[in-house]
Subunit: 362 residues, 2 copies
């Protein structure tokens, strides 16, 4: 097959990593785990799967500048900013248009920018198998993550019968997609053994995506027609996107296309995976002290355990007598929050936004 | 009587107000309560009791510079730095030498620099009565604070029979001094009604202090002889102090003199008083929000109550989902600690000291 394409979706808001993450510098632009931004790690991880000129990054206008500075080696034209967020279906439609303008039969993977995956070898082998499958057959390949716990924060995919094998990897048919389940249901899925997490990693060809858009999302498909026309005529993309994007329907690709299609297959991943959804999830990638405290920068914990204490810029954060607390210090803002309350950060950020000049911390 | 003298003892370490307080800038140099340093508030409070030339401030070498900058209107020669701390008996001996050099019969009050007292009128009336008593009779007058709770952090003074009345204030004889009691004992004292707190406020004359030093603390008395001799000859004080201070016995004035003397009387205070011993004590001088949170600077508390959150310099401190926590943010260090653990700060500071270059935060 001709060289495949990789489209990295780098548009998240990253509120859950506040105060390190801000609107113009969200999670994938931070070294939340490791020493480089997660987007940099993602770009390194796909290296070799496709030539740099075949790699696209779809980001948001507010992040575009920072994303460009991270995407060294990727042609500037391949970094495309959505003027407003329109969820993943629009991003996938844009991706298909971008790839289709280069190769109308092009096979491409859509991959999130902000996951942590260490086993690059297995990751690439899985993706090569998925790309081969999508090149060989008109299918939508989802990479399913083998669950390690009854997570309630992800959608699940129930695997059906085995479909075909590519590159030593057997892909299964998909029995059904399910939305984020309640804990008891998630526990059943985990016990059943035939469910995998939907991690937003998809591999398919331009014709397959375009056919699905035309059939299941005609409004979105029509809305994106000027993008395809503009790309075909070599016109600058930004003005076109700016005009049409606000009018596109806001819908997830799972809901718009995958759940409605009957040609979806799933490749159960063979690599480790962590979406690192919020600060407390960082802990398992760090080395803790004997009391379970994880620190970065100048941090001291006395008489307390299982705390997460990050300090930036030579500032000292000293924690005394607390357990299971997280303290995240940045140059202009500090968050103090029990680890178990990390999910309530949106409510806190509403309060911050209401401060006089509060937008500068968001 | 001739004009009295006031000697303010401004030498505390202030560890309990870390990280705002540091060795060169301890509690009495901070606006822990109110908008000016506590020492400034103390100087304002004694205004009118004695002329500025009769006011001395005894501080420590490391704080001298900052203390001088706060003591506007006080003659520079009246601000005396102890080269090393030798507890309160040495400071009182030094005070007696300083006052005695001006007036061998001088009456003086020794007052701490770091207490919070709002009722200046009653305070001055009490002190005037105490000064009158000390001018009239060879007694040691202690100002006893009427207890408001069974505090275990102060020594207590048991009042005896009424002694004499000055300026409408009746002073009592002292039955005994007691060290910081256990809670159950403190509760008995509070119920008994004849105990007051020893707040380190003493009023007496030079001859009374010198006689007590000679009788009960001859080593200290002899050690201070060169100070008296130097002052009598108009010699610079600093070199003398530097030479002899390290050799002085380190002992409290309560233990060295008061507990051993039979001429001690007590004036139960008629003013409000708070020694504001640590961060949590600040709360009762502040206005809390509906959830009991006290904040200063740019602080937000969401879904939590009874927190104390102070932020300096335009930095935002955002607290989510905690109760009874204190977060004190300064330009170079932040403390996070449950209010109930504030007394363990010394252990934390040992850890800070052990950091590479840790001394810069102390």
């Amino acid at each position: 097959m001709s060289k495949p394409y990789i489209v990295i979706i780098a548009g998240g808001k990253g509120e859950r990593f506040w105060p390190q993450s801000r609107a113009p510098r969200p999670k994938h632009l931070l070294p939340v785990v490791g020493t480089t931004p997660l987007l940099t790690q993602t770009l390194a991880r796909v290296k070799g799967l496709a030539p740099a000129k075949n790699i696209f990054v779809i980001t948001s206008a507010i992040q575009a500048r920072a994303v460009r500075s991270v995407c060294r080696g990727i042609p500037a034209a391949n970094i495309v900013a959505e003027p407003v967020g329109r969820d993943t279906a629009a991003a996938v439609g844009l991706a298909a248009a971008l790839v289709g303008a280069r190769d109308p039969q092009g096979v491409f993977a859509v991959l999130p920018a902000d996951h942590v995956i260490r086993d690059t070898k297995s990751y690439q082998a899985d993706l090569r198998a998925a790309l081969a499958a999508a090149a060989a057959e008109p299918v939508m390949v989802t990479i399913g993550i083998t669950p390690t716990e009854p997570a309630t924060g992800f959608g699940y995919i129930q695997r059906g019968v085995a479909w075909r094998t590519f590159g030593g990897r057997t892909l299964d048919r998909v029995k059904r997609f399910v939305e984020k389940p309640a804990l008891a249901v998630a526990q059943q899925y985990l016990a059943a053994g035939d469910y995998v997490w939907n991690a937003g990693m998809f591999v398919w060809s331009v014709p397959v995506v375009e056919a699905a858009l035309a059939r299941f999302a005609p409004e979105l498909d029509a809305g994106l027609a000027p993008v395809r026309a503009g790309l075909a005529r070599g016109r600058p993309l930004a003005p076109v996107l700016k005009k049409l994007y606000p009018k596109l329907p806001k819908i997830s690709v799972d809901y718009a296309l995958l759940e409605k299609s009957d040609n979806v297959v799933v490749l159960p991943s063979s690599f480790d995976w962590d979406d690192v959804g919020a600060w407390p999830a960082v802990v398992k990638h760090c080395t803790a002290d004997a009391a379970g405290n994880v620190t970065r920068g100048l941090a001291v914990v006395e008489q307390g355990g299982n705390n997460l204490v990050f300090a930036e810029g030579g500032h000292l954060v000293a924690v005394l007598g607390t357990d299971d607390l997280m303290v995240i210090h940045t140059a202009d803002a500090t968050l103090v929050c029990p680890k178990g309350r990390a999910q309530d950060i949106k409510a806190l950020l509403k309060r911050v936004e209401a401060l006089k000049g509060g937008a500068r911390w968001l």
